[in-house]
Every structure is written in structure tokens, then in C-alpha cells.
Symmetry: C2
Subunit: 336 residues, 2 copies
Amino acid sequence: MPPTIKDVAKRAKVGISTVSRVLNNSGYVSPKTRERVLKAIEELNFEPNYLAKSLSSGKTRTIALILPDITNPFFPAIARGVEDAVKRKEYHVILCNTDGDSQQEALHAKALREKAVDGLIFTASSKNNKHVLELVEVGIPVVLIDRRVEGNNLDAVLVDNVAGAYEATKYLIGLGHKYIGFIAGPDVTTALERQEGYCRALKEAGIEVKEKLIQPGNFRYESGYTGALNLLEYGVTAILAANDLMALGAMRAIEEKGLRIPQDIAVVGFDDIPLASLVKPALTTVNQPAYQMGALAAEILLERIEGKRAGEPKEVILTPSLVIRESCGGRGRWQT
Amino acid sequence: MPPTIKDVAKRAKVGISTVSRVLNNSGYVSPKTRERVLKAIEELNFEPNYLAKSLSSGKTRTIALILPDITNPFFPAIARGVEDAVKRKEYHVILCNTDGDSQQEALHAKALREKAVDGLIFTASSKNNKHVLELVEVGIPVVLIDRRVEGNNLDAVLVDNVAGAYEATKYLIGLGHKYIGFIAGPDVTTALERQEGYCRALKEAGIEVKEKLIQPGNFRYESGYTGALNLLEYGVTAILAANDLMALGAMRAIEEKGLRIPQDIAVVGFDDIPLASLVKPALTTVNQPAYQMGALAAEILLERIEGKRAGEPKEVILTPSLVIRESCGGRGRWQT
DNA sequence: TTGAAAGCGTTACCAG
DNA sequence: CTGGTAACGCTTTCAA
């Protein structure tokens, strides 16, 4: 059995409350007593039992990060940002993958509540979010990341997807493209917003938005591949994909068709995952500061948890930036 | 305040121990009483407090996964494998990044012990491992993944790195290469073993192992890049990198030098991260079944935790397989 | 400045 | 079958 606070008390010949005080640097303890206690702790190699502490205090110093799939290259950076930010304050993070499944989200939410996590960071992926809102009602702070949930205002760290896609499309237009295809994402706000940015840029430039130039997609490589295949049939000269994975799939399709990037077809992605700069040609894409998003979300969450942030929830909206590389040809006037 | 077992007891007009029994399906409870209790639980929307449960039982149903960096593309699949395996049994996983720093490993180990995780899965990256061994001594099950730690036998899920690199090198030799460069990894067993496989294949083929053809590396993209630059100076016709990231860096260097892959230089990686199949030319590499490794490690750990596995620790050594793609030219005789 | 004692919400043992 | 009650290890009044 590991030593307990009681053992320390006995050895130092003090009461257990005194030990607790020196442990937490709370209340008064005379230097001499403190010394004795410290010595006892040392000799016993005592370590406080966190469970007991948590039960008593109600705090676990653990948060959860719920996201669709850590295997999706957009998320590791977020996860790392979160962990780095909370690590400094000695919190830990529980990682939960949901695959965008509402039921799994619910399961995790329930379990995490029972485990009394102090708060959670959530990438919503289903429409049905009542499980999370329940957590909020119970008083567990939640900050959303990347995706907003409807019908509730919560702290959130988002990216201006409309602006990002708008800028990317405008860049393509500026390069002279008129027949630009879009490979859409699944039915989540981020994807929808990107589509909106695409449409807006087109309209603003007086280019008609053609239904058939908007191919369905699901954020996965394969759907980018098939979407591009269709788009090529329609004779597009450029393709904007709602995320990088699909853009990569599109590149594969284009090359298999014997077309060259960017000479024949230009492609732009969204996310700026690590691969984007490594493929050939390097992918021009809209950068999302994933690491910072994670870190920022974590900081906001900790502030809520520690009561340093009160009042209305706030959305932090970051502006993504177009990173011009090789997949659209010469560096255009948009380069900054 | 959320309702407690006490509230339930009161409402159902039974003792709290009875409530506890129905909660855990332990001991005898008459159908009628059980019914009443269940009803009360329902009405109160009661949920057991896990902390209290844990304090009492000593079990947290939480494990930790300690690895260098989730941002390194080799690890997300492992993490996912671990989580999926453990999720079925309603365990959670705490994710810890160490950056291969022994001090951070120690910090995490200490904190996790305090938080009483039931066990942990560990990718050792520093030589100094006494912190982990301490956990083992305290009785916390540990299973190693990917890397062995010296001086102790623990459950481990490993890959036969020697065999993998040996096969890869032999493949290159079979293709007619005689001047094969190697970009080494940092000072961890996996990297060392891969180097050993490389040397062994060379020797077996009667090819001299030249010191200068072994470039230092640290598993990162950049070191692959610079390593390749040096290797090209020496006129190698093929490069084997100790991991994919470095192989990718090497590819970049080769192309920047105006050389073609695979016509001028062949390259082989190790890991088979998701990017490997996406780059052009697609990378021929040694596949490590990361997802399964994670899942397997998790299963072994749970068996230890739940006492279903006793006796001596055992190492499970998986055999990696060479995945032949495009970066070495035509499919050679090694294709299966 | 210190210690005793009452929780925190469960589990588990022991009578009944 | 069921209900008390003593742990589990710590925090936090409250007196002294």
C-alpha cells in the first residue's frame, strides 16, 4: 500500500490537516512544522492520491478532446496544440474518436461526465448535439473547435471558412479560370461555408454557378478522386476541393487522366495538412492554423474551468490564409 | 448537486447497499426491490459518480498512451488502434506527447501514477527509463509499443525492424543496386535495428558497408533531405531511409538536384505512413501495421489489468512487409 | 498555528 | 435477501 497523508501525519507527529496544508500551500503552517512534514513526505516517498483529491475537490484536472478521427491528418496538430497548452497547467487530455457518429458522441459524453472531466473540447460532427448540450447544462464547460453546433452559443474557436474559400476561388479567377469545379464536403458547417465562399466569389466575378460543377464529397481521398473524374468530364480548368485530402485525390485523378497540374488543371485545397507541401506539385491551399486553434481552445477552456473567464460565450474566428505553392502554376497577384 | 446513491436509496426506500447491488449486478436483490430501485434511478436521472467508485475500487478504467508526438504521421494510427480496442470495454485513453524527452516522460509517468491510470502503453524514446520501471514496480501494467526498453522485460508489441530493413535492402540489391545509401534514425532501438538489417543484407551480398554511405538522421523530413544531399555527392544509386518522413525528404532533395526517381535514384522508406501511397512517385516502403499494433498492445494491456493474463511478460514481434510501389522502378522479383 | 471531525459518493463486509 | 457501517484518502470547516 502506498503511504497516505495519514502516515505522513503520524511520522511528522502532526495532524493530517496540517499535512494537507503544506501539500497545498494553504493556510498557515509554521516553518518548523512544515519542515518536519516535508521531511516525512520525502522519507515516505509519499504521493498524494489524486482520486481522493478529486473526490473531495470535484476537480480532476483532466479534459477531453472529442473529434471525428485522429487519423485524419487535420486533427493531430489540433490534438498537439491542446495537449501542449494544458500540459503547462498539469492537466491531461483524454482523446475520443467519434467517426462523426452521433451515437458515439453521446456515449463518450455520458462516460466523460461520469468520469467528471473538468471540461471538454469538441469537434461536432453530427447534427444531433443534445448530448453535448446536456453536459453544458450540468455545468461542464465545453468549447467547440472547428465546427459550430446549432441552436446554442458556446465558446468556440473557428475559422472563417467562407473567407478562405472565397479567397481561394478569387485567386483562381484572377489566374484566368472561368470554369472552376468544386468538390464539396459532407453536411457539416465547415464544408457548407466553404461552398458558400466558392459560390460568392464566382457570383461576384459574374460567373454563373453551375450545379454540375459542384460535386459531392465526404472529405475523404476517394471522394476527391471520383469528384475530379466527373469534373474533368465537364471540362473544368481548375478545381477547388473542400479539403486537402480530396484535393490530393483530385490530383491523382487528373494525373491518371494524363493531364498535367498546373498546366492543364489547377487545383486548390483547404486545410494545409502536412502533406500539402510535400506532394508534387506542392498543393496550393487555404491554411488553417490547427495547432493554434487547439492551443487557443484549450486556453479558453482552462479559463472557464478555473473561473477566470465569466460571462457570455464567445466565438473566436480566425482568418485562414491562402498558401500559394505549385498546383496552380505561377505565383499570382494574390501572393502576399 | 447531482443525485447520489443515497437519494436513490431514500426514494426507493431501501438501503444504499441495495442500490449499489443493483447498480453492479452483484449480490442478491429481489426482483421487486430491484424494480423499485431502477425506477428511482430513472426518475432521479441518477448517474454514479465515477470518482467515488474509483476511490473505492482503485480502478479508473483509464489508460494512458505515451508517445513522442501525435503529429508524427506514424502515431495517429496507433492511437486510433488503442482507442478502438479499449473503447469496447469502456476504457478511456489519456494521450501524452513527450517529444522523446526523458524528463517529460518522467513527468507524465509521475502524474499518471497519481491519477491512478490502470495501465499504460508506452513508446519509449529516451534511454533513461527508470520512471516507467518505477510504475511497473508500483504494480501498474505497462506494455511497450514499437520500442523496447533495455534492462527489463515487459510486455511489448514490436516489429522486426531488422527483417524489414533487410528485406528492403535485399530488394534494392536484387534490382541491381550496389551503391546503396542509408539515412539512419536517432539513437533508439528501432532505428538501430533497421540499420542492422541494412548492413546485414549488404554483407550477405558481399557488398562492403561504407561508413560514409550511412548518413545520420533524426526521423524528421529535413534530415532526410540533407542526408540525401550528402549521399548524392557520393554517387549512390539507391537510398534506404530509416523512416518514410526522411524518405520523403530524400525524394525532395533528389528532385531538386534534377534527378529522377526511380530512373536515376531509387528510394525506399520504412513505416508506410498514409502519405507514402499518395506522393508521386508512390513510395516503396516497409509497412508497419500501426493500427493493429495499437489494438494489440491495448488488448494485452487490458488482459493484464483485468488479471486475465498472468505470468511472464511476452514480446509480440510482428513481421513488417515490403510494399512495392513506384519509387524503385519496375516491380521486381520481390513482389508477392 | 494546529488538530479533530465531518464530509465527498461508492464499495464491501457483516449482521440480521 | 437487505441495511448498517467502516473504509477509500483527501479537503475543509470549526474550535482550540
